[in-house]
Amino acid sequence: MSARATRAWLLSTPALILFAVLLLVPLLMTFLLSFNSFDFYGGIGSDLSLANYAEVLGDSYFYEIFGRTFLIALITTLICAAIGVPQAYILYRMSPLWRSITVLIVIGPLLISVVVRTLGWAILLGNKGVINTALIDIGLIERPIRMMYTSGGIVLALVHVMVPFMILAVWAALQRQDPAVESAAESLGARPATIFFRIVLPQAIPGVLSGSLIVFSLSASAFATPAILGGRRVKVVATTVYDEFLNTLNWPLGAAIAMLLLASVLVVMLSWNRLVERRFGEVFQ
């Protein structure tokens, strides 16, 4: 190894140690744990088998939870794209002063603790919450609409916190485009709507795709929001893992579910990425 390479490795050692101790080791231990057996009276056994995986994959209860989790993540991603793309374009067209103010507002949700933010949503969405009380008081509805403990409520709160990631990703993509292309399209006879859909949007697609990747994977593994707004009723994978670890105390089963979540999110991300590369590799990069 050359002196240069040695120095590079030495310099990255602290980060590598941190990475290994805080991420790789726990992940590896969880992985190993997922093969252990569990007995209600005897606790965690030391034998290794695929029994935990068989249990998860053989039970429709878990399929329902995984299905719900990915559906929530998918809908959250779609809504984030629908809100994030126009917002990013507006941001891109703003004057610098308003832009910096708006960026601050956009990343606002990320500055608030997830628990506080989600409890805020609980106050708004509850049966006796702000929205229902207001709607009943002005006579629009007679009985409260149920919004707490529903998948819809979870999606709403997830969109709130995920939309900044989408906006920032799309905005970055828009900034890479030549500002003169819109003028060029206009001079060729395109109307503003045509310019947006045929010129601006296609060039923002790489940003939408990378934003989707972030939003989807964070939504699929979100814990606090579904835990507070979904409660016992609407379980997602992350809350199920939590329950297995802390209520049933069946750590190996919880570890197996966690591993399956990790694997399925990875598969989605990698195939998404390949799709993007194949479709846009020649055009962008």
Partner: protein, 354 residues
């Protein structure tokens, strides 16, 4: 009535006046350059013609039609941007097709016109490529084809060659002029490069600080500059302050310090003037000949020519000499400078130097 006419065009941005009272015209089929240093208002002028900026005052008339209030997309102008502004997500053919699609040209005719346009710029073999995989010169041609395919009344070029390297730029100058002639399209080009403007244009409009300084053919702008700015901006020039004496029938006497030079007849009243003399019009003679004596202070070899800086009692003079393969006067050598008095240009003294 000329094809394109700008009447007292003015543009102010707050307190800043970018273009002031600009009037000139462009004949049908000709190639006109707007030339000036950066910040002189030439790009703003182009933006107003294109319809991207609204004039504060004045009118733009294209083929007898007043363009005020006509949006850019309805002006039907072909524009080549400095950055080319190609649509990165479309192939070459799709880029060229865009303007035709906007005009709802039928498929068969569209295909034919795209082929013609790409043929004109010699890019037929690359129609399925994406801009990202092309060289600067090729992208420039795509931008040109895209602008010409809509058969514009007017072609606007915004610093079209500034992103190319020097050698390619010279090739493209000729190429651009060929394409413009073949397409027969009236063209207005913005540039800060005087050699580009001289080489390509039928007529040059020189601008400085928002104002028109001279509007003439390249030859006249170079040979008969009407101001100190124009003489110094186009090519190299030795500009000296002088005092104009009485003009006789055979010319005028010019007092430069203690030296009296003879120049051509001047229309200016006696008093302070500026004289300009091109470096290539000065000949070197022996130390005792010529009109002025000086010492070579600097010598630059440029391949086909030499550039000398000669210190004289009225100031430094630049002298351009063709390299004929013979030895050139060396640094420290005393030489005589000679020229034809008719080559001196007498200009009004600059009251507000740039």
């Amino acid at each position: 009535m000329a094809f394109l006419e700008l009447h007292s065009l003015t543009k102010r941005f707050g307190a800043i006046t970018a273009v002031e009272d600009l009037t000139f015209s462009v004949e049908r089929g000709s190639f006109v350059s707007l030339l000036g240093p950066s910040g002189c208002g030439k790009t703003t002028t182009l933006q107003m013609v294109a319809g991207f900026e609204t004039p504060t005052d004045g009118r733009i008339v294209l083929d007898g039609r007043d363009l005020s209030g006509v949006p850019a997309r309805e002006r039907g102008l072909g524009i080549v941007f400095q950055t080319y502004a190609l649509f990165a997500h479309m192939t070459v053919a799709e880029n060229v097709a865009f303007g035709l699609e906007m005009r709802k040209v039928a498929k068969a005719e569209r295909t034919r016109r795209i082929a013609d346009a790409l043929d004109l710029v010699h890019l037929s073999h690359l129609e399925d490529r994406y801009p990202r995989s092309m060289s600067g010169g090729q992208r420039q041609r795509v931008a040109l084809a895209r602008a010409l395919v809509i058969e514009p009344q007017l072609l606007l070029l915004d610093e079209p060659l500034s992103n190319l390297d020097a050698k390619l730029r010279e090739e493209m100058q000729l190429e651009l002029r060929r394409i413009q002639r073949e397409a027969g399209v009236t063209t207005l080009m913005v540039t800060h490069d005087q050699s580009e403007a001289l080489a390509m244009s039928d007529s040059i409009v020189v601008m400085d600080r928002g104002r028109l300084r001279q509007d003439a053919t390249p030859f006249d702008v170079y040979e008969m500059p009407q101001s100190s700015f124009v003489s110094r901006f186009l090519g190299k020039s030795n500009n000296l302050a002088a005092r104009l004496g009485e003009s006789g029938p055979d010319g005028a006497a010019l007092h430069c310090g203690n030296v009296v030079l003879h120049g051509p007849k001047a229309d200016l009243p006696p008093g302070p003037v500026e004289i300009a003399l091109r470096p290539e019009r000065i000949a070197l003679t022996g130390p005792d000949g010529g009109k002025l004596r000086g010492t070579v202070a600097e010598r630059v070899f440029m391949g086909n020519q030499w550039l000398l800086r000669v210190e004289t009692e009225i100031g430094d003079m630049l002298v351009m000499r063709y390299n004929t393969g013979r030895r050139e006067a060396d640094i420290g050598e005393t030489v005589g400078l000679d020229w034809n008095p008719a080559d001196i240009r007498i200009l009004p003294a600059e009251t507000n130097p740039a």
